[in-house]
């Protein structure tokens, strides 16, 4: 791909808290290589202040553009106006921010509420009119994916009285807690007999929960439906084995569209669309899960 050769682009990444995040980082690196971009990478260890510091340093170094995967939606105004004053375009990755739109060139992100809604819609469709008691594994309390994915799912099931979230706890987006919390759910819900479906805010928690369900002597995917978000390879393996039912894709390739937009803007002055929304595609057992798992291994998972 052409248009960005030799340019220096700063990338402020949140951290490396999950496999998905690591994949996003490595996809971004791959993309940078393809575009011939010199990528200045900075890992913020989950701290907004480190991201602000990184952006300031990028400005001080005089990079050509900045990619920002914001850890939180608020609090960017000041530092982004500094970048704007220095005429450095900023592209947001994987989530939007609450700031005047002129502060960034574009935002390449998924719609987190939509992700939750897609998962919810799938469940609504799948159970039909049957009673369904759902348990929910939330992400980290206070993080925006957790809040938005919860909201989307609740919106989707709002008009369906037969579906009800009976228990909801945080699993911190991790496998270990996903498993542990699911164990608690199973214990509290009559050994799992009263649970009809599990909704997990990410695949990792779902993978952990699937193990818990199996250890409790139930069949995940049959006795308890499993739907989650992210579409990482391990969940496809589970879907292929019939242990999970559906996942909603969140692509780790946010950098590709970002670089395209930047190339067009820097070379030809083309203003890209303000919000580039990545597709929130639903995958089920019908969608060649083995193949999807394989394809994704190359994405840096």
């Amino acid at each position: 791909q052409e248009g960005l050769e030799g340019m220096t682009i700063g990338f402020s990444q949140i951290g490396s808290e999950s496999g998905w995040r690591a994949a996003e980082t490595s996809v971004t690196r791959q993309q940078a290589e393809e575009w011939g971009v010199n990528l200045q990478f900075s890992d913020a260890q989950q701290r907004q202040e480190n991201q602000i510091r990184a952006i300031r340093s990028f400005v001080a170094q005089g990079v050509d553009a900045i990619l920002l995967a914001p850890v939180v939606a608020t609090g960017w105004e000041e530092v982004l106006s500094e970048a704007k004053d220095a005429d450095i375009p900023v592209v947001l990755l994987d989530r939007g921010i609450e700031a005047p739109e002129d502060l960034y060139l574009t935002s390449v992100a998924s719609d987190q509420v939509l992700e939750g809604r897609v998962a919810g819609d799938w469940l609504v469709e799948t159970v039909g009119d049957e009673e369904c008691r759902v348990v929910e594994l939330q992400g980290t309390v206070g993080s925006s994916p957790a809040i938005n994915r919860k909201q989307g799912f609740e919106e989707a099931i709002a008009d369906h009285d037969n579906i009800e979230i009976v228990r909801s706890q945080t699993g911190d987006f991790t496998r270990a807690l996903g498993k542990q919390v699911m164990e608690g759910f199973l214990r509290a819900e009559n050994g799992g007999a009263d649970i009809c479906a599990l909704y997990a805010h990410n695949d990792d928690m779902a993978v952990g929960a699937i193990q818990a369900i199996k250890e409790a002597g139930l069949n995940p995917g049959e006795d308890i439906l499993v739907v989650s978000i992210d579409a990482v390879p391990d969940i496809f393996t589970a879907i292929a084995a019939g242990e999970a039912n559906a996942t909603v894709e969140l692509t780790p390739n946010m950098a590709g569209p970002a670089f395209e937009a930047l190339a067009a803007y820097l070379n030809d002055g083309v203003e890209p669309e303000k919000f580039i929304i990545t597709e929130s595609k639903l995958y089920t057992a019908e969608d060649d899960p083995e193949g999807e798992a394989e394809r994704r291994r190359d994405l840096g998972y």
């Binding site: 700063g10 951290g15 900075s42 260890q45 989950q46 939180v72 608020t74 609450e98």
Partner: protein, 329 residues
């Protein structure tokens, strides 16, 4: 030269040396812009470090700092955006609440004789828990006052900005230095750190001082939350996770002994700068992967501490020799 200044001098020397080395590698680091950023970006850390210095000097520890910062930034945001209160009274309320919070931790530490590590650990959970109760979402604050404050900066030669936050941190440090070294309260803090039992027998008001120390620490953590709020114009419940460890590291790198009784407020400022330098250096480098970032931070921390020990050990040997000569003379 009084030997107790050696750790401080060692720290300053190391900082200057490290900065010089970093500048040789990245000349862009040598600018008032970077220095200004160093002040601004570490302002909230610095303000909290002042409080932590008091705590550590007294032989205690305060793990609740990060949570209290998050709590106050969120409380401010809630007060301003949801209750429509002007920022200034919102700040005042917040500082009052956090001060009381610290005072009650101090009360528990003194009267229940529970180690500060555990009390403040509970405080850490409690403050973060209260934050979630206020809101789970991050709240954006847009108020004229914030915009107004943002205009207060002094442009240094070379284009760097000394911002309101940076300046506030320096003022807090200046006050901290005076309180620490020139007031009775400061002397009591050192006394507690030296030997709490002896201090009590010498007539140091142990209860009042202990409660005061943790109240000050939480007050400054609250102020740090104010700084954070101004810095990001928002309240974020997951902000400042683990900042307590950063502050502790800054204080200790600054030459203060965790066992209490030895150290200087000024050292903590240098410690904060060193922490900030490490981060800035890594961003300038820009080639480290996520995991190498952690390893390098750990490695640099190790390097600083070992270097400091070497300098202090060398100075001690030197000092002992001089003392012997003085005795012989």
């Amino acid at each position: 030269m009084n030997p107790r200044y050696w750790p401080l001098i060692a720290t300053i020397t190391i900082f200057v040396l490290a900065y010089a080395l970093a500048v040789m590698q990245f000349p862009a680091l040598f600018s008032t812009r970077v220095l200004g950023n160093l002040l601004t970006d570490n302002a909230f850390l610095g303000v909290a470090a002042v409080g932590m210095t008091f705590v550590i000097l007294s032989g205690g520890i305060d793990l609740s700092v990060g949570s209290v910062i998050a709590f106050s930034s969120v409380l401010i945001a809630v007060l301003i955006t949801q209750l429509g209160i002007h920022p200034l009274p919102a700040f005042a309320i917040t500082l009052l609440v956090t001060t009381l919070f610290g005072a009650s931790m101090g009360t528990m530490i003194h009267y229940l004789e529970v180690p500060p590590f555990i009390v403040t650990l509970a405080g850490m959970f409690l403050a973060r828990g209260l934050t979630f109760l206020l809101t789970q979402d991050s709240i954006s604050v847009s108020h004229d006052f914030y915009t107004w404050v943002r205009q207060f900066y002094y442009v240094m030669p070379g284009g760097g900005r000394l911002t309101f936050n940076g300046g506030l941190m320096l003022i807090v440090f200046a006050i901290g230095i005076i309180v620490c070294h020139r007031t009775r309260f400061g002397a009591y803090v050192y006394a507690l750190g030296g030997n709490a039992q002896s201090a009590a027998l010498l007539g140091v008001p142990v209860a009042r001082t202990t409660i005061g120390i943790y109240a000050v620490s939480s007050f400054l953590a609250g102020l740090s939350g104010v700084v954070y709020s101004l810095y990001t114009s928002s309240g974020y419940p997951l902000a400042a996770v683990g900042v307590e460890l950063d502050t502790i590291a800054a204080v200790v790198i600054g030459g203060t002994l965790l066992s209490g009784g030895f150290g200087f407020m000024l050292g903590s400022l240098v410690g904060v700068f060193i922490q900030g330098m490490i981060q800035t250096y890594i961003v300038f480098d820009g080639t480290l992967s996520s995991w190498w970032t952690k390893i390098v931070i750990g490695g640099l921390l190790f390097g600083f501490i070992v270097l400091q020990r070497i300098i202090i050990a060398a100075s001690k040997r030197d000092w002992r020799k001089k003392k012997v000569e003085a005795v012989r003379a």
